[in-house]
């Protein structure tokens, strides 16, 4: 009897387990989490120097990830600092490239589940390397997998991801540092504050710069009413970067000055710019002026019209009195 009960219990467990497994969700929600660190790295090298750099790729998924490690040059393509990896060497501007200086022991590998892989690269700086900046991206690209089609009429899109670390290399020497403010704009007239300021700084040097500057809003009496630091953003050589700031509060009135002062580069070269603008809440001002005018007119009306009417009434009253007196006299005469 005990054996039968045990068999029935075991069978029940197996059935329950089967249903639990078969009803488990599919891998539709499966994700591929990848981490790279450092996300950016800055190196300083001398011509002829041999050095290395290690980038860590962390696979946070529950499955091992196989893929390629690549070293490619990159440039910045716009004034937002967006890096673009150069896919082919022909596209590269040799002035800022250095991927050919890099080597590694392997170019593909498998990162175990929940593990990191440290990708070590060696850098051999040519003896004739010119001073300035070089920019390289080191990335890991897992190999995409497409299942074989079940029929000959299927469609599929393979998805691959690349996660890149950016390497900034400074080759020591006589580095050209030059930058200018190409745009320092605030609308000539604003109805209300805050004052919107657009600043664009162009790096004309051959190494990236990170300008340290502040914006100052000065009121018509020469008093500083607001200060803001420009976000310290990197500017790629021969590229510009745009900064947008808002200074002051809503209620401003008069002619204001916006001043930019700062420095860039290792020599702390100066940056400065000025712009003047008017802020005047004209709609509110018109409403206030109209209200004042109406008030003045009303007061004036009351002040001028009331005595006149009073005078007229008194005259009328006097006339009526006289008329009554005259009528009284007529009645008395008749009697």
């Amino acid at each position: 009897m005990k054996k039968i009960i045990k068999m029935l219990f075991d069978s029940f467990l197996i059935i329950v387990a089967f249903f639990l497994v078969s009803s488990a969700p599919t891998s539709a929600q499966q994700s591929l989490p990848l981490v790279v660190y450092p996300a950016k790295i800055q190196l300083e090298v001398s011509p002829g120097e041999k050095t290395g750099v290690t980038i860590n790729f962390l696979n946070q998924s529950e499955i091992p990830l196989s893929g390629y490690f690549r070293i490619a040059d990159f440039i910045v393509i716009n004034n937002k600092g967006t890096p673009e990896i150069i896919e082919s060497k022909e596209m590269a501007n040799n002035r800022y490239t250095a991927s050919s200086w890099f080597s590694s022991l392997y170019d593909r590998g498998t990162i175990p589940a929940n593990e990191k892989l440290s990708f070590l690269t060696y850098i051999t700086v040519p003896k004739d390397a010119t001073a300035g900046g070089r920019y390289v991206a080191i990335y890991f690209e897992p190999t995409p997998e497409l299942t074989q089609p079940k029929t000959g009429a299927e469609k599929a899109t393979a998805i691959s991801t690349r996660i890149a670390s950016l390497v900034y290399i400074k080759v020591k020497g006589d580095i050209k540092e030059e930058a200018k403010i190409t745009q320092f704009f605030a609308s000539n007239f604003q109805e209300y504050g805050p004052v919107k300021v657009v600043t664009e700084i162009l790096n004309l040097g051959n190494y990236h710069i990170t300008p340290q500057a502040k914006l100052t809003l000065i009121n018509p009496f020469g008093k500083v009413i607001d200060e803001q630091k420009l976000t310290p953003l990197n500017i790629f050589p021969e590229r510009s970067r745009v900064y947008e700031n808002e200074l002051g509060k809503k209620w401003l009135i008069g002619r204001y000055q916006v001043k930019l002062t700062g420095t860039y580069g290792e020599k702390n070269l100066p940056l400065s710019a000025n712009v003047y603008l008017w802020v005047f809440p004209w709609k509110v001002a018109i409403i206030i002026i109209l209200a004042i005018i109406i008030l003045i007119l009303l007061v004036r009306h009351f002040l001028t019209q009331s005595p006149q009417k009073e005078k007229e009434l008194l005259t009328l009253l006097e006339r009526e009195k006289k008329e009554i007196e005259r009528l009284k006299r007529m009645i008395n005469k008749n009697e």
Binding site: T26, S27, A28, Q29, Q30, S31, L32, P33, L34, V35, V36, Y37, P38, A39, K40, Q60, F74, V76, I77, K80, G81, T82, P83, E84, I85, E87, A137, Y139, E141, P142, P144, E145, L146, T147, P149, K150, T151, G152, A153, E154, K155, A156, T157, A158, I159, S160, T161, R162, I163, A164, S165, L166, H208, T231, P232, L233, N234, F236
Partner: protein, 496 residues
């Protein structure tokens, strides 16, 4: 016999008188004096320092003109290594007579290179440092001295606080941290602290106090602070708090003593506090031990990291205002066999990005080619059915990899995508922008020479920004049958 008796009585009386006078002297003259001078011990006496770090004082070995590297002597000074000098400390290079700072400037420690060398910012001026100069990083503290009275302080009484000073005249009040061979001969520098820099409060009696005098110490005397009681007495049991120093003036903590000081072991100084009556007789007193010790630099290096997660999503979910038809995976969007021509097929993936990079991040998208039959190359941007390709959509009217357009017409065929913010607002364009139903773009075709386009970005750190990428495929009835595929790629990096 009589004479012997008298002698005995005389000796006994002499002895009794001796004992009597001794006892009289002890009990009626000596003991009251002792009790009056020593008084009782103040209760719960303590001195809390706002900064208990020892000052730093080392000898300069080298400091070149216009240089930013300074090397210190490795022996013979209060500090003989850089163990107790930290990045961002303010340092003054003082001459051998401690008569001011080099160039009247304070420098910031930029970094510690090794046990005897450190970097400063800004660099030195055109004069090098002298070999007899000192590197000084002063540490100052506000002392909060608290105690509870055993005896009442009368209306004309006072409090006297004695703070140890260095036993060298001329160095007790020069605003440079002091050092000597022993703790007993060293002390706190007064640094011009005066009566206005001292505050007193009392709990248990009226706060009727006047800081009457601050006297700087010299070779033989320590610093003293006298606080007079006014108007009425302060009762026993009252708790007094004396705050020595304020935002303007503070006592300078001593540097380590020059002999027998072990780094990490405090130098303990004694501050005496006593309450006195109108005749300056001590009522209560306490010796408070005050410890100053080297600081501990706690540091951690946090790497800039970038995290990218791409997740597949199930069929049947709401994505970009549509309901998806296809279950996707991180690696693939398997459209499967399509027999429903002229009808939109929807699929989606979820992209999550986190980074602590101050400049933020960008995620860009591209495809190796348009979808080609059996991997057929679709040459150019407009390769279509005739070339056995599913071309990138042109939306209702016209869209490209950089400009979007509404895509609602099922007679517009091809492959395209749209975006939806799930967490944050990092998507570059949105499916419902400009009141559209499904605002779409082409995926940049590398084969056709198009460049990758940003789909999500941020110029500040991102905790967990999420954007849904919604793919759409619409096949015409005349599309040649076959297995079509291409490869879409996402590239994530920090913003420059």
């Amino acid at each position: 016999m009589f004479i012997i008796m008298m002698k005995k009585i005389f000796y006994q009386l002499t002895f009794i008188f001796f004992l009597f006078f001794q006892s009289f002297y002890l009990f009626f003259l000596r003991l009251p004096q002792i009790f009056t001078v020593e008084g009782a011990t103040l209760l719960n006496a303590s001195d809390t320092l706002s900064n208990s770090r020892l000052s730093y004082r080392a000898g300069v070995a080298t400091g070149a003109a216009n240089g930013s590297v300074v090397t210190i002597d490795s022996s013979g000074n209060a500090d003989n290594n850089t163990n107790h000098l930290f990045p961002n400390d303010n340092v003054c290079f003082a001459g051998p007579n401690l008569d001011g700072c080099y160039q009247q400037t304070n420098y910031t420690v930029a970094s510690i290179i090794n046990t005897t060398t450190f970097n400063i910012s800004p660099p030195l001026a055109s004069t090098p440092l002298g070999v007899n100069d000192y590197v000084i990083a002063s540490q100052s503290a506000i002392h909060s001295i608290q105690f509870t009275l055993i005896n009442t302080i009368p209306a004309n009484g006072n409090i006297l606080i004695t703070i140890p000073a260095i036993d060298i005249t001329g160095q007790t009040n020069d605003c440079f941290p002091d050092t000597n061979s022993t703790i007993a001969s060293n002390g706190f520098d007064l640094c011009g602290l005066g009566t206005t820099n001292i505050a007193i409060s009392s709990s248990g009696c009226n706060n009727n106090w006047t800081v009457a005098a601050v006297t700087a110490g010299d070779a033989t005397n320590d610093h003293t602070i006298r606080i007079d009681r006014n108007t009425n007495s302060c009762a026993a049991g009252s708790t007094i708090t004396v705050t020595v120093g304020d935002t303007n003036r503070r006592l300078i903590n001593p540097a380590p003593i020059t002999s027998s000081h072990a780094q990490g072991v405090a130098d303990i100084y004694t501050i005496n506090v006593r309450t006195r009556d109108g005749g300056n007789n001590t009522l209560d007193q306490a010796n408070i031990r005050t410890a100053v010790i080297e600081g501990v630099l706690v540091s951690a290096n946090i790497e800039e990291t970038l995290s990218l997660t791409i997740a597949g999503e199930s069929a049947g979910i709401a994505a970009c205002g549509q309901t998806t038809d296809v279950t996707t995976y991180p690696y693939a969007v398997p459209w499967g066999t399509i027999a429903n021509f002229g009808a939109f097929q929807e699929a989606s993936q979820l992209i999550t990005v986190s980074t602590n990079a101050v400049s933020g991040y960008t995620v860009r998208i591209d495809e190796n080619d348009q979808m080609g039959r059996n991997g057929n190359v679709c040459t150019g941007a407009n390769a279509g059915e005739a070339q056995n390709c599913i071309r990138d959509t042109t939306c209702n009217t016209s869209c490209s990899e950089s400009t979007s357009d509404d895509w609602t017409s099922t007679t517009s065929y091809g492959f395209g995508y749209s975006l939806q913010n799930v967490s944050g607002s990092d998507a570059i364009f949105l499916y419902n922008e400009s009141s559209r139903t499904f605002s779409a773009r082409q995926i940049p075709d590398l084969e056709a020479g198009e460049t990758a386009q940003t789909i999500m970005s941020r110029n500040t750190p991102a905790a967990s920004s999420q954007v849904r990428v919604c793919y759409r495929l619409n096949i015409s009835t005349t599309q040649p049958a076959g297995y079509y595929f291409n490869k879409v790629r996402f590239t994530a990096s920090a913003t420059f």
